[in-house]
Amino acid sequence: MSADLELDCRAMLCPRPVIELARHYTEVPVGGVIAVAADDVAAATDVPAWCRMRHQEYLGTENAADGVPVYRVRRLS
């Protein structure tokens, strides 16, 4: 599935993927989708937790061609 913006956070350790998400999500329009490719295991918990705390919508995860999880977030505000 496509995203308006995909961040490559491979090889970044927590909390860096969530920091990158917070720094860049405003670059997609409200209603748009930002994706974060992250192999750090903490992202599986921390991306949904960030969405809950920052009132954004967590859409779920899919795998990139190299098997790295890609976390998808819809910007709500």
Binding site: L13, P15, V18, I19, A22, D40, T45, D46, P48, R54
Partner: protein
Amino acid sequence: MTAPGEQPPATYLDTASSEPLHPAARAVLEQALEAGYADPRRLHGPARNARILLDNAREATADALGVRPDEVTFTPSGTHAVHLGVLGLLAGRARHGDHLAASAVEHSSVLHAGRWHADRGGSFSTLPVDSLGRVLPEVAGSPAVIAVQSANHEVGTVQPVAVFAGAAPVFMDASASAGRLPLPEGWDAAAASAHKWGGPAGVGVLLVRKGARWRNPFPTDDRVEERATGMENVAGALASAAALQAVVAERAEVGPRQHALIDRLRHGVAAIEDTEIVGDPVDRLPHLVTFSFLYVDGEAIVTELDRRGFAVASGSACTASTLEPSHVLAAMGALTHGNVRISLTRETSANDVDRLLAQLPGIVADLRAEAGL
């Protein structure tokens, strides 16, 4: 030997990892080391002295925990007591089934026992928890044994152990609450660890209810007691019992005081933006709270607090030897980075809490600024 560096004493806020030795234990330990060196199973005078000390330790521990003396066994650690408790109930149920169901937020020693059991042909699954970390009361299938802790060691939430009674024999890891809260009803075997209530390290307690079907899952030796692993740490057990008695005697005063201090801490931390305070705010351990700061590196905040004289723990991945985040926080769906666990001593004051609260906003702001936020 080298002495620890000359530094002002830290404000120690990590008693959930290990409590300082209780003064009541210190006095007893020295005397018991003097008099309790012999093998309690021999037939001479020094052995009888050691036997009396060990029996005293057992009786005092039983009395403080509200169980029978013959239900108490001292083990070389809390982890070993957990392994004996979980795997011993499974061995006692071998003719009925081999499935262990444990809450997803158990201490790692319980989960490792489950994996060990599964590696040897048994089966193991975890029970989910809600967002407060409380295990959901539904159990799928018919497990041979259920493992549920008395209270969670990371977030403090008290667990509904009694609701699982009757579904299967229950193993309860009581390490986080023993001495601080009365033991709940509904378990068949339980474990605790003396250094978490102010006894010395190297003393665990295994409780097996009279009439429970329990079999030792490990090789033993020719000694008499079925549940003991080698010769007991007699002096350590007696010192642990003295600490436990003191903690239980003090808890009507210490518990509410700690509970109020944790409320004060929760309230103060909530004022810091983008902070998640984890666990049940009310039905919880009196002395413990966990919170997580968004965008903050857990190792960095522990290090900054250490530099300012505060000793705290963290469940964030970067602070763990495994590089995996806390399985407790992950099972709850709670934020795992920027995590700090505070656990109070019996002497922690409102002033200590306020000094910590005065430091946290600046540290968090600096670390977030370093991260580019």
